[in-house]
């Protein structure tokens, strides 16, 4: 290490381990901090649950009897069809949480404090997204139980069902990095919340989440078929055995290979947005 001649550096903090082990340790410290926070703001976790439950109830009972999926028009068939969409929408809404949390940390000067510490560079964001992943998993678990109580059933083995939930968590984790980037880019937590949400509506609605994309106008149908969100929804429907009778998967590649497409889309989003967010964090301010 080159230093300035004539002076001896006086370093007070212990020498960092460096590398992966320090990144993991620092990320876990931050994740723990965010989980403690979440446990002290239970209303945020509860609101995160109320919304998808409301969606399930509204969609099932308001639209359920009039939306045709495959060859079926019935509330029961629609409920089975709908759940994968609601699950996927729920995990992507975690984006807003990550964004608001990080924007809040910026706003309160905590990001400056973290950046002045000899800690791993990506750890503040990784820790936050890991904590959000834990929250997403909890939300999914509760939502699944509510869905079962409302009459949702899976028709495949447990391995496939767990794989489906794994794909959902991966998608949610990838999206929380989009939230992290938004949080670092806006000026206030409020802006991060709305900025984290608005684009999710077209994304989730121009997809196969709530309706059969086959019945959309051509342009929208193409968008829906290539929408990263649709791949996960389609994969979950297959893995849960929730495809309605008479349903034919569209010919587009992601719809024909939804599991692989879901993994690839999620990894691509993860890598791109993690890179952008960490770069933004390093130069923040």
């Amino acid at each position: 290490m080159s230093t300035v001649p004539g002076t001896t550096p006086r370093l007070a903090a212990p020498k960092p381990r460096g590398g992966i082990s320090q990144s993991v340790a620092d990320s876990l410290v931050i994740a723990r901090r965010n989980l403690i926070r979440m446990s002290r703001i239970p209303e945020m976790v509860i609101f995160g649950l109320v919304q998808p439950i409301m969606f399930v109830v509204l969609f099932t009972y308001v639209f359920g009897g009039s939306i045709e999926v495959g060859s079926a028009i019935s509330a029961a068939a629609y409920r089975e069809f709908l759940m994968a969409g609601i699950f996927a929408q729920t995990v992507t809404f975690a984006t807003a949480g990550a964004g608001a949390g990080i924007a809040d940390d910026m706003h309160k000067g905590l990001i400056d404090r973290f950046r002045s510490l000899p800690m791993a560079r990506g750890a503040v964001l990784t820790g936050r997204t890991l904590a959000d992943l834990v929250q997403t998993a909890l939300t999914l678990a509760v939502l699944a139980i509510v869905a079962v109580l409302l009459g949702w059933r899976v028709h495949e083995n447990i391995g496939k069902v767990l794989l489906g939930f794994g794909l959902l968590l991966l998608l949610g984790y990838a999206f929380s990095w989009i939230g992290a980037l938004i949080g670092l880019s806006v000026r206030t937590p409020e802006a991060a919340t709305s900025g984290g949400l608005i684009w999710l509506f077209p994304l989730t609605f121009i997809s196969n989440a709530f309706v059969d994309a086959n019945k959309m106008p051509t342009v929208l149908r193409h968008i829906a078929e290539w929408n990263p969100f649709s791949a996960t929804v389609q994969a979950c429907r297959e893995l849960f055995g929730n495809l309605p009778p008479g349903f034919e998967a569209p010919g587009a590649w992601p719809m024909q290979h939804p599991i692989l497409a879901s993994v690839l889309w999620s990894l691509l989003i993860l890598v791109v947005f993690r890179t952008l967010a960490v770069r933004k964090y390093r130069s923040a301010g």
Partner: protein
């Protein structure tokens, strides 16, 4: 030998605003440098560059013997930062906050826990240690923030407006802590808008305005530069003004100013307390009865006006009212500066 904090030619621009316009600083080890200036002067930007948070457009800086641009992570091991806003997680308890910061300074969990306990005691927060920080008063949050900056007892500390928004009692408490730190050998760079604070705490003062250091020196040197001292006399009766004026004219280095209705006479002098004693003897010998007499030295406010043509407070208003807490600029890159 360069000081514990040394900067040369720092320049940083945000759009059209030159937040730092060629700043040189040198803080010898174990001393306190006060960076004094109004809002928007560039104080915060200077701190952000020196604490590795911001890359300057040009110039170099060395902190604790390490180049800030070449070895940012090593610099971070040697510094503590207490920013303009109490940067604590309000949902975490005081103890959890300090434990977390200790771990992120790469202490073991156990060492961080022990250190957190010590600091909570020292900063008089032991009783509130296990309550979330959002239940703390402003002064307590400030103390917790300062404790977080001291977790590893860094040899070099940066404090950005540490007492902004604090009441006089909490300010005094914080001043005591800062003086204790410095007595222990810590080098400190402190920014402030309060002239009184720089006067009280800093060995050397740099007055900054529009991204430039416009004056530097000790508090006394700056005051002398601004026009030196003057003797001020208030006589008891109006008819004593004339003889008093004659006496003062004999000692003074300039014109005697007279305020008839307050019976106050002022004259610039050199010679300090010794001269004051002579003035008193001479007035007494002429039978002039004195209500009040004193040697007035210019305040840092006077310094500021003579250097910039405006007072620090006025400049703050001009900067767009970015003063005070909670104005929403904490996390912004150029928050303070861009407000112009």
């Amino acid at each position: 030998m360069p000081g514990a904090i040394h900067a040369e030619g720092l320049v940083k621009t945000f759009g059209d605003v030159r937040a730092l316009d060629g700043v040189d600083l040198d803080v010898p080890e174990g001393t306190v440098l006060g960076l004094l200036g109004p809002n928007g002067a560039g104080k915060t930007t200077a701190v952000r560059v020196l604490t590795t948070l911001l890359k300057p457009d040009s110039g170099r800086a060395v902190v604790a013997g390490l180049d800030v641009l070449k070895h940012p992570n090593e610099v971070r091991r040697a510094i503590g930062l207490s920013g303009q806003f109490a940067a604590v997680d309000e949902y975490l308890t005081g103890r959890e906050n300090l434990h977390m910061v200790g771990q992120l300074y790469q202490m073991t969990s156990k060492a961080a826990r022990i250190r957190a306990g010590e600091l909570l005691e020292r900063f008089n927060l032991a009783e509130a240690a296990d309550r979330p920080a959002k239940t703390y008063s402003g002064g307590m949050r400030r103390r917790l923030d300062l404790a977080a900056a001291l977790v590893v007892s860094p040899p070099v500390m940066f404090m950005d407006e540490p007492t902004t928004g604090l009441d006089p009692r909490n300010r005094q408490q914080l001043w005591d802590v800062i003086q204790e730190l410095v007595a222990g050998g810590t080098t400190l760079l402190l920014t402030t808008q309060y002239l009184e604070e720089a006067d009280h705490l800093a060995h050397d003062i740099c007055v900054v305005d529009h991204g430039r250091v416009i004056a530097r020196g000790t508090s006394d040197q700056l005051k002398v530069r601004t026009g030196g001292e003057r003797v001020e006399v208030v006589v008891h009766r109006p008819d004593e003004i004339v003889p008093a004026r004659a006496v003062l004219a004999g000692f003074g280095k300039g014109e005697v100013a007279v305020e008839t209705h307050t019976r106050r006479l002022t004259v610039p002098v050199t010679g300090g307390a010794k001269l004051l004693a002579e003035v008193i003897r001479e007035l007494d010998a002429r039978g002039v009865e004195i209500d009040d007499i004193g040697l007035r030295r210019p305040t840092l406010d006077d310094v500021f006006i003579s250097l910039t043509g405006h007072t620090a407070e006025l400049a703050g208003e001009r900067a767009g009212g970015a003063a005070g807490e909670g104005d929403g600029t904490a996390g912004e890159p150029a928050g303070e500066e861009a407000a112009k």
